[in-house]
């Protein structure tokens, strides 16, 4: 017979009260697990959607006094006459600490060309990277290979060209392999061609005018990445497209704050349930606790018995709470997310956290009843005779 045996025997005897405490904690823990898992899955879903927004970091050459808008965003600017970035310098981006968070890196060379007496802006790009950077592009035709071109809708209209037509730039014949649907951005007026070919046509071999980076992923530290890229590209001006980044952060923060608030509220209610039930249990056991005192139990022994009971129930509630919360999230996730099939994997950290949180809440809520029990007048036992 030990204090632990007394605690277990008492739980077996008072199954109803034990179940009530278990239910209070289980509801609290499972709600917290479900909310946090749900928010985590929703964040993943939102991140996925935000990735559809394209680039969020822009790299342009350092300049003194330039102003240019691009893509509807105020980005500082770029001049075609200014000093360009060397293409090989972009390789340094692969060495930054958060290189793994770079979803796509799209170098771009820009320069004016004359086509059929019309002055237009030609952009040499890496089409593979642009699939990530311009996910909203839709086109008639297809991306060019090494020597074709993709026309913006306005450029195609101005030049009177369509898919399959050919035009000349600096005596070089280029075939239109596709025409972009209207995007409402400056892309509509551009001629997009493979990077290497454009560099050659513009006489800017191995040089680029700007580069775009897509670094949208869960928890990407955008400001930190901007600093890291600035460090490896001292000759470039690196900027975060603030609207996208801030919007994304605000959305995620809002969700997180909401889940923490609701979790705290539910846990508070759960812990009050535990407190009230344990206080009731202590009152019910006044005579029993008095007998313990008569037998020479110290106050600390009584506290240990009650806290052991609380720890056993809380531990069980933690395990069951995680399983219930996990299952509920699995069931609810299709209702809260769309599209790419957000999933809820078994999270050992969250499982351990739920277990420890449950024990912490159970013990904290039981500490006052345990203390009150230890302060009971042992003479109550004899008076009750």
């Amino acid at each position: 017979m030990t204090l632990g045996d007394i605690a277990i025997s008492n739980l077996r005897r008072r199954k109803g009260k034990a179940f009530f405490v278990l239910a209070g904690l289980l509801i609290g823990v499972s709600t917290v697990v479900a909310l946090l898992s749900l928010v985590s899955a929703m964040k993943e879903d939102i991140n996925h959607k935000l990735e559809m927004y394209g680039a969020n970091i822009l790299i342009v050459p350092k300049t003194e006094n330039l102003s240019l808008t691009y893509g509807g965003l105020s980005l500082g600017g770029v001049s075609f006459e200014m000093q360009e970035i060397r293409e090989e310098e972009l390789e340094n981006i692969k060495k930054i600490a958060n290189a793994n968070n770079v979803a796509a890196l799209g170098p771009m060379v820009l320069g004016p060309v004359t086509v059929a007496d019309q002055r237009l802006l030609m952009a040499g790009v890496d089409f593979q990277a642009f699939r990530v950077l311009r996910p909203w592009w839709t086109m008639k035709g297809q991306e060019p290979d090494d020597d074709g071109a993709l026309l913006g809708s306005e450029a195609a209209r101005l030049l009177g060209l369509g898919t399959g037509d050919k035009f000349q730039v600096n005596d070089r014949e280029i075939q239109v392999t596709g025409v972009l649907e209207t995007t409402g951005s400056q892309d509509d007026g551009l001629i997009f061609a493979p990077l290497a070919m454009t560099q050659e046509l513009l006489g800017k071999k191995d040089r680029i005018s700007m580069a775009e980076v897509a670094a949208l992923c869960s928890g990407c530290p955008i400001p930190e990445m901007v600093k890291q890229i600035s460090d490896v590209l001292p000759g470039a001006n690196v900027m975060a497209i603030q609207q996208v980044v801030k919007g994304r952060m605000e959305t995620l923060n809002h969700f997180e704050k909401f889940s923490y608030g609701v979790s705290a509220l539910v846990l508070l209610v759960g812990s009050l349930m535990v407190l009230v039930t344990m206080m009731g249990s202590v009152r019910e056991r006044t005579v029993e606790i008095g007998i313990f005192s008569a037998m020479g139990f110290r106050g600390s022994h009584v506290i240990r018995i009650i806290l052991m009971e609380a720890a056993i129930i809380s531990g069980l509630a933690g395990v069951l709470g995680y399983l219930v919360g996990f299952s509920v999230t699995k069931m609810l996730i299709p209702l809260f997310t769309e599209g790419h099939g957000a999933h809820v994997p078994f999270d050992p950290v969250m499982a351990a956290g739920a277990f420890l949180l449950s024990i912490f809440v159970g013990l904290a809520a039981s500490s006052y009843p345990a203390f009150a029990a230890s302060r009971l007048d042992p003479n109550e036992a004899l008076r009750a005779l």
């Binding site: 030990t2 008569a294 037998m295 020479g296 004899l382």
Partner: protein, 221 residues
């Protein structure tokens, strides 16, 4: 050796107009190995006296010493340790825990003692054997008679071999034959050297004692 000395013990419950004085400054000495019966009318203060001697109820004034140790000058924890080592209680209503077997009930006072489980169990079975209930060790209290429950309460009181046994009307809820059996056991414990202080209403059972303390209106007659 446990010599109990009470000096001018007084106990008052409540304050002001509602105050009730249970003991009005009583003094006595009980030598080690004595068997003392405490008698008195209901409300005379005898149960208060027993609880004070049992170190469960602080007197309003006066001093209780056991082997010259002022027990109420000890801290709560030290007093609990003293109680565990020195005093065994036998309650009128047995006060067995209904969810524990008889052996587990007897083992209860040993729960805070650092001892191997098997050793505790053998001590409990020896105490149950001492009161003739070894064969019913695994039964629950509800599965034995009132007299047997009282014997289990005695076994629980003696399992730690305390030198002092305090019994509050141990035969109060029993028929006369069972009561005599219980008195036989208590008398036997006294013969083995234990100091017995027993509250009783029954003069026949008080006759087992070496000495009688009669309490009336909070004083010794």
């Amino acid at each position: 050796m446990k010599r109990i000395q009470a000096q001018q013990i007084a106990k008052q419950y409540g304050k002001g107009d509602t105050a009730v004085t249970a003991l009005k400054g009583i003094s006595f000495t009980i030598d080690a190995g004595e068997f003392v019966a405490v008698m008195g009318e209901s409300g005379s203060g005898k149960s208060t006296l027993l609880s004070i001697v049992g170190t469960l109820n602080s007197p309003t004034s006066g001093r209780l010493t056991v082997d010259d140790i002022d027990v109420y000058a000890l801290g709560k924890d030290k007093r609990a340790d003293f109680r565990r080592k020195s005093i065994g209680f036998v309650f009128q209503n047995f006060n067995l825990l209904p969810y524990l077997t008889l052996a587990e009930n007897v083992m209860l006072p040993l729960a805070t003692v650092r001892e191997k489980r098997a050793k505790k169990r053998s001590m409990a079975l020896a105490a149950l054997a001492r009161v003739g209930l070894a064969e019913k060790a695994e039964r629950l209290p509800s599965q034995v008679s009132g007299g047997e429950q009282e014997r289990v309460a005695i076994a629980r009181a003696i399992v730690g071999r305390p030198p002092i046994i305090l019994a509050d009307e141990p035969t109060g809820n029993l028929d006369s034959k069972t009561g005599k059996d219980i008195m036989g056991i208590i008398n036997g414990l006294n013969s083995e050297g234990m100091t017995i202080i027993m509250v009783t209403h029954n003069p026949d059972y008080a006759a087992y004692a070496h000495r009688l303390l009669r309490v009336a209106d909070g004083v010794l007659e």
